[in-house]
Amino acid sequence: MSSSDRDDPAKRASGLEAAFDEPAFVPYLAAGDPDFESSLEYVEALARGGADVIELGLPFSEPIAEGPTIQRAVARALSSGMTPERYFEFCERLDVDVPLVCMTYYNLIYQYGDEPVRSFVERAAAVGIEGFVVPDLPAEEADLLREACDEFGLDLIFIVAPTTRGERLERIMAQVSGYVYVQARLGVTGARETVSDHTAESLQRIAERGGSAATDVPKAVGFGISSGEQAAAVVEAGADGVIVGSALVDIVAEGDETGRPTDAVAADLEAMARELKEGALAGGQRRPRPERT
């Protein structure tokens, strides 16, 4: 099924791994939420607040892995006219010194341009995107995207769920590059009050079954994290980074609903980003020296 090259993690790009040298903060926003210009400012605010990698959502009409918060963000971005081509313009316009990861659903990647998948990846690489997260693309269906990512030097991030065990986990870890997206709980995205108990357990499982990639590839935990204290707890439990989406999208949504000025919303996002980044760093100090060098 796979060529030996693709099974060799050393042959794969990873511009992203360096972002995890210290405990990393990885925010998500949907590009174009609630409109193109405001969204540019919001993403730049996250970078100022200490983001190490930014997961930038390209909105798809059927976001089956998302909870209500991000579903509404996606709807706002789509109704403001976001398209794949506008998304690439958005990336070009962004003035940030942080690696970008494109988070979207497979049909948009598949439909773009003349060559399914390859055209999209080529264009993404040209605008400076360094990796992909595709929630509806399990490792079984990812050959085409993996090939294109290898060709253009991009990382392909896979999600490891609480239900991912045994051979499945090994297969995913053999394909992943950049970082592993460790899904902290079952279900869909959304901010939660408490951090899931699954986190430590999932990280442990990856360490046991993940092969060489388990030590080489950073592990970022997401789904439900909404405060600096939660970020600290997740990093203390062994994560190399935290992924936060809904808690940030909530700030954008509230700003949109109450008609707040863009710069006030951006300032809140920057403050929230700072809290989460500081939480991640604090969590790193609370734990014994990381095994990764």
């Binding site: 009409s61 059927e62 998302e66 579903q71 081509e85 269906e141 999600i159 499945r168 079952l186 279900g187």
Partner: protein, 415 residues
């Protein structure tokens, strides 16, 4: 051990969130063991329950008036007589029973017209498993009698408010529930759509339709039918009616889609005023499978439309898409007006009130055989009467009053 099919040509596959993949693997294993290999007598129990609870086999009856009207021998496969009033029970009963064999404690399902929801609610009550149904708000308002039936059978009905509130949104929302509850819950998908093994498994449960029809046709007419006609939304009654005939190359298979109000797409508004994904859709990935879809040039899924909720879907089963590509199944479309006219014709001429979905299949007969430039279809023709129309009466009266149909009765008795 028998292996299940995961792809049909380039179509099918398993495009789902990672959290669901272990459940998909578990289901694949259960499908192979119980359904394909009859482990623990699963298939025997399923057949017995289809007979005792479902009322099978259903008859194949000659449509005397239609045969005379069109000058063709026409037979009706009466899935409207299955318990609950539609073919949907064949699949729902199979999957709820399979969930029990798998030790699952809870059933969830999506529904469009409410026929799959009611069938699942009945099967869950019959087999004593708690059941929750997701249904778009717009469909809830279009299909009130079915909502009452689900509630009366003890199911929870969860309205889905996102998007336009039809089947597409209900499927997405049910997948989200499943991603949360996957360890204890089985998702009874209602059509031959979704990730493998659902398309093959649902087809297998529904193929009892063509298995019976094939035997009955031979018994009644001395041979195979020349043509089999079925309506197609997601395609479960279609694949059920076609499955056992696919290898009989002399039998023409015609899948009739909802042409809605017009057979085009409005890219600007993101709306297709039809549900004709086999006829005008493009290849893409939705709800776990690669198939033919109504989508815009960017790959965003379009809102579909049909007078019948059960056909109102932007995708179609991957196997059906494949059979169309290889030329084994011929797609056709019938619009809202013609379907409504056909609804009244079958009701007054044959004494059978069909579901609006089913009416599309009869609309095709009128368009193919009714005019002066009538084509000839290979005989005898078997039409799958996928469901009865009691659930549609409110909508039919409203839609009929909004149009001038040549053959509709008036409701003046109330004035």
């Amino acid at each position: 051990m028998s292996n299940s099919e995961t792809k049909f040509g380039d179509y099918g596959g398993q495009y789902v969130p990672e959290a669901l993949m272990p459940a998909i693997e578990e289901l694949t294993d259960a499908y192979e063991r119980y359904v394909l290999d009859n482990e623990d007598g699963f298939v025997d129990e399923f057949r017995n329950r289809l007979r005792d609870f479902g009322g099978r086999p259903t008859p194949l009856g000659r449509a005397d008036q239609l045969s005379e009207r069109y000058g063709h021998e026409i037979y009706l496969k009466r899935e409207d007589l299955v318990h609950g009033g539609a073919h949907k029970l064949n699949n729902a009963l199979g999957q709820v029973l399979l969930a029990k064999y798998m030790g699952k404690e809870r059933i969830i399902a999506e529904t469009g017209a409410g026929q799959h929801g009611t069938a699942t609610a009945m099967a869950a009550a019959h087999l004593d498993v708690p059941c929750e149904i997701y249904m778009g708000r717009r469909d809830i308002n279009r299909q009130r009698p079915n909502v009452f039936r689900m509630r009366i059978n003890g199911a929870e009905v969860n309205p889905v408010d996102v998007g336009r509130g039809t089947l597409k949104e209900a499927i997405s929302e049910t997948m989200r529930d499943w991603a949360t509850t996957v360890e204890t819950t089985h998702y009874v998908i209602g059509s031959v759509v979704g990730p493998a093994p659902f398309p093959a498994m649902v087809r297998d449960f529904q193929s009892v339709i063509s298995e019976e029809a094939r035997e009955q046709a031979i018994e009644r007419t001395g041979g195979l039918p020349g043509t089999v006609v079925a309506c197609a939304g997601g395609g479960s009654n279609t694949m059920g009616a076609f499955a056992e005939f696919v290898d009989d190359e002399g039998v023409d298979l015609i899948a009739v889609e909802a042409g809605g109000s017009a057979l085009d797409v409005d890219e600007e508004r993101g709306v297709a005023p039809n549900s004709a994904s086999l006829s005008i859709g493009e290849e893409g990935v939705l709800h776990g499978a690669r198939t033919k879809l109504l989508q815009d040039g960017h790959g965003q899924i379009m809102e579909s439309h049909s007078i019948s909720s059960g056909l109102d879907y932007s995708g179609v089963g991957p196997e059906l898409a494949h059979l169309v590509d290889v030329g084994r199944v011929t797609p056709a479309t019938v619009g809202d007006d013609a379907a409504l006219e056909a609804f009244h014709r079958l009701s007054t001429d044959e004494g059978i009130i069909p579901a609006l979905e089913t009416a599309h299949a009869f609309g095709f007969l009128e368009e193919a055989l009714g005019g002066d430039d009538a084509t000839k279809l290979a005989e005898p023709i078997v039409v799958n009467v996928s469901g009865r129309g009691d659930k549609d009466l409110e909508a039919v009266i409203e839609e009929t009053e909004a149009r001038e149909l040549p053959n509709a009765p008036t409701m003046e008795v109330f004035e």
